[in-house]
């Protein structure tokens, strides 16, 4: 009997809820025998536009609903545990990485409807006014994933951003992009509306300058940047006063969410 011929996967970018090749038609081969799309500046712009369009809808979902969708992503990821372990090179460390990624999704899923109670305040102003402060999403967030851990670094970037109601354009690990593109399949089956989260692969030096300078990106999680990339991103970010967050040490923390949020303060007089 002839040996089984497997049906191989074409790895694609994830933009606006669709799996697409790079509009540039380019690919690179960081892993032997696998062609990975090499996203262009235009792909990046398309992803930002898709994200911006999805923003009002996602930010307008109830916190509970966002939590349920993030939790669903944890379910989908857990169900594909073996596939991710294989893409991460197998062995116990890969297993631990997948487990930690699942844990991050579950942990941040639980924060969505608690954050305003921890990070918000009612402010006792000296006058007849009711005054309160609540966290709100900042908008489109660029997530630069760490090279390694390729899966966990990405999840620790996108989960807190999404939990806070932001929309995401993520740049995957350049040298180990496969888990990111497979994670996109997890996200695609978790009920995120199209465009809420977008995943690009390719060369960081081609994409990062445009992400940093894009006028419709509000914040960048630069956890995966080298010191030089970080400095360049921070300088480009000044063009539209976007904030660049870079200090994550991998710990799960509510400040990973609030660092990508705005605080809105509302005043109203009290009277009869």
């Amino acid at each position: 009997m002839a040996p089984r011929l497997d049906v191989r996967k074409t790895y694609k970018l994830f933009v606006n809820g669709e799996f697409v090749r790079s509009e540039s038609g380019r690919a690179y081969r960081p892993v032997a025998g696998v062609n990975v799309p090499r996203a262009s500046r235009k792909d990046l712009r398309d992803a930002v536009r898709a994200a911006r369009t999805a923003f009002d809808g996602w930010a307008g979902r109830t916190a509970t609903n966002r939590g349920q969708i993030l939790y669903r992503a944890a379910e989908m990821l857990d169900g594909r545990r073996l596939q991710f372990i294989q893409e991460l090179g197998g062995g116990k460390p890969a297993g631990r990485e997948v487990d930690a990624a699942v844990e991050a999704l579950v942990w941040y899923a639980g924060w969505t409807d608690k954050l305003a109670q921890v990070a918000g305040t009612v402010n006792p102003v000296a006058g007849p006014y009711f005054n309160f402060t609540i966290p709100e999403p900042t908008g489109v967030v660029g997530v630069v994933a760490t090279e390694t851990p390729a899966l966990l670094g990405l999840v620790r970037g996108i989960a807190p951003a999404l939990a806070g109601g932001n929309v995401v354009v993520a740049l995957a690990s350049e040298s180990r992009p496969l888990p990111a593109l497979t994670l996109a399949e997890v996200l695609a089956t978790s009920d995120f509306p199209p465009g809420v989260v977008n995943v690009l692969t390719g060369q960081r030096k081609e994409l990062l300058p445009w992400l940093g300078a894009h006028m419709d990106v509000n914040a960048i999680d630069a956890a995966g940047c080298t010191a030089e990339e970080l400095a360049a991103a921070q300088e480009a970010a000044a063009g539209n006063v976007k904030r660049v967050v870079a200090h994550r040490n991998g710990e799960l923390s509510p400040s990973a969410i609030t660092d990508l949020m705005e605080m809105k303060t509302v005043w109203h007089p009290i009277g009869t």
Binding site: T121, V241, T265, V266, H268
Partner: protein, 448 residues
């Protein structure tokens, strides 16, 4: 002390153009000296028992109250703002700000449980000329409470109240080096924010300069918070209490001559009440008293500087050229000094410069809308996002609007209210970080 630069510059009274004093210009050697002083004081101040830190800050608050009249007069002389504002708003709020943050100094562990709050180090702070002492308070009070030392540079047109504040720090026996005040213009500020021993930069001012600072700080690892420009929409629905709204609109744009980053400079009126509201507004503007800042009846004082006056004049001309209709009350202006009549532009479209650019003067641009959705669309159609106002009697609509307005402060059925407990700061190109309240501590702390 004498500047090592050996250079001095004059500061004038913008209401008379008379020189009030000469102030030293801090250049490299002086900035170095100030930052070094702050750096050597940092260790002991950061380790001081928090309750002792609190006591120093409480002392400062009390001294500000005790010397409030003197400070109010200096503020009005140097900056041109009406004495009733410096007396009733600027100085009391500055004192209250120190009082509020003094109490936080020994409660940081309760503010941020499980996060091990710690000081960030020497803070380089640069503030604007519109609320000199109040902006100083917004910068210095939380920085000290969090255990940092500071070097602060006031604006070159309004340095005097900050120098009086330095004297107050001496009177409070604050340890030397904890607070350092240096005077100068843009060059001094640039030397300060790029000094390698400054660990945190805080800036309030124009978006243009804010972007330069963000660039200068890039790659240095310094903490940064920015409170920049605004072009706030003040939105009036047809069911609003119109007389109250008129007071809010007047306060929103003419308070402090419109030299307010959160000024309600774009009035959005629902079409059905536009005519009535504008008639009331014109009547009210006619009653504004423009003139001597030291007269306690004055509503609108002097424009802060000749440069600012020219900027306002230029933008008002562009409004006329682009086809907007102007209304100015027939009031007399003093012969000397920098003055500008309260101005209302109608027939303004969103593309006009006066609807897009921050004027930072007593100039209101009026636009109209039909539906709440259109109001939101127009209000958010700006790169800024500092503040907004909403006037309507309908509670559910207030909350609906509040959710959708991309601005850091929303005043509903009121405008331009400030309080030490209330966080203030912007979205988008209006900056990041908050000042005031619990959130105002965050820019000055490292947290786990």
């Amino acid at each position: 002390m004498e500047p090592r630069s050996g250079r001095w510059f004059p500061t004038i009274n913008p209401a008379t153009e008379e020189q009030l004093s000469e102030v030293s210009e801090a250049l490299k050697a002086d900035v170095d000296r100030a930052v070094t002083a702050a750096a050597s004081a940092q260790e002991s101040w950061g380790r001081l028992k928090p309750s002792r830190r609190a006591r120093y800050i409480f002392r400062i608050s009390r001294l500000l109250q005790e010397r409030s009249r003197e400070l109010a007069v200096v503020e009005s002389l140097d900056g041109g703002k009406p004495i009733k504002e410096s007396r009733d708003v600027d100085i009391p709020l500055a004192a209250a700000h120190f009082f509020y943050y003094a109490g936080w100094a020994d409660k940081l562990e309760w503010a941020f449980p499980n996060r091990r709050p710690r000081p960030v180090g020497v803070c380089g702070q640069v503030i604007p000329w519109n609320f000199p002492l109040l902006m100083l308070a917004w910068k210095i009070a939380p920085a000290l409470a969090a255990g940092n030392t500071v070097v602060l540079k006031p604006a070159e047109t309004t340095p005097l109240s900050a120098l009086l504040f330095a004297e107050i720090c001496q009177q409070a026996d604050l340890p030397p080096g904890v607070v350092n005040i240096i005077t100068g213009a843009g060059k001094t500020g640039s030397l300060l924010v790029s000094h390698p021993d400054v660990k945190k930069v805080a800036f309030t001012g124009s978006t243009e300069v804010g972007k330069l600072i963000q660039k200068a700080v890039a790659g240095t690892g310094k903490h940064l918070s920015l409170e920049l420009g605004g072009k706030a929409a003040n939105i009036v629905f047809d069911d609003a209490p119109l007389d109250q709204a008129v007071e809010g609109i007047i306060n929103g744009i003419f308070f402090n001559q419109g030299h307010v980053c959160c000024a309600g400079s774009r009035l959005l009126v629902q079409e059905s009440v536009a005519e009535l509201l504008l008639a009331k507004l014109r009547d009210r503007v006619d009653t504004l008293r423009v003139g001597d800042p030291l007269d306690k009846n004055t509503d609108v004082g002097a424009i802060n500087s000749r440069a600012q006056l020219e900027k306002i004049q230029g933008l008002v001309e562009s409004g006329l050229e682009e086809g907007a209709e102007i209304y100015q009350p027939p009031c007399e202006l003093p012969a000397k000094g920098f003055w500008f009549r309260p101005t209302i532009f109608t027939n303004v479209s969103q593309s006009h410069r006066i609807a897009r650019e921050e004027i930072f003067g007593p100039v209101l641009s009026v636009l109209t809308f039909r539906t709440p959705a259109e109001a939101v669309e127009k209000a958010n159609n700006t790169p800024y996002g500092l503040s907004a106002g909403v006037w309507t009697e309908k509670g559910s609509r207030i909350l609906w609007m509040t959710e959708r307005l991309r601005a850091g402060v929303v005043w509903a059925n009121t405008y331009n209210r400030f309080d030490p407990t209330s966080p203030f700061g912007g979205y988008k190109e209006s900056g990041f970080g908050r000042e005031g309240g619990l959130h105002g501590l965050l820019p000055y702390l490292g947290l786990n």
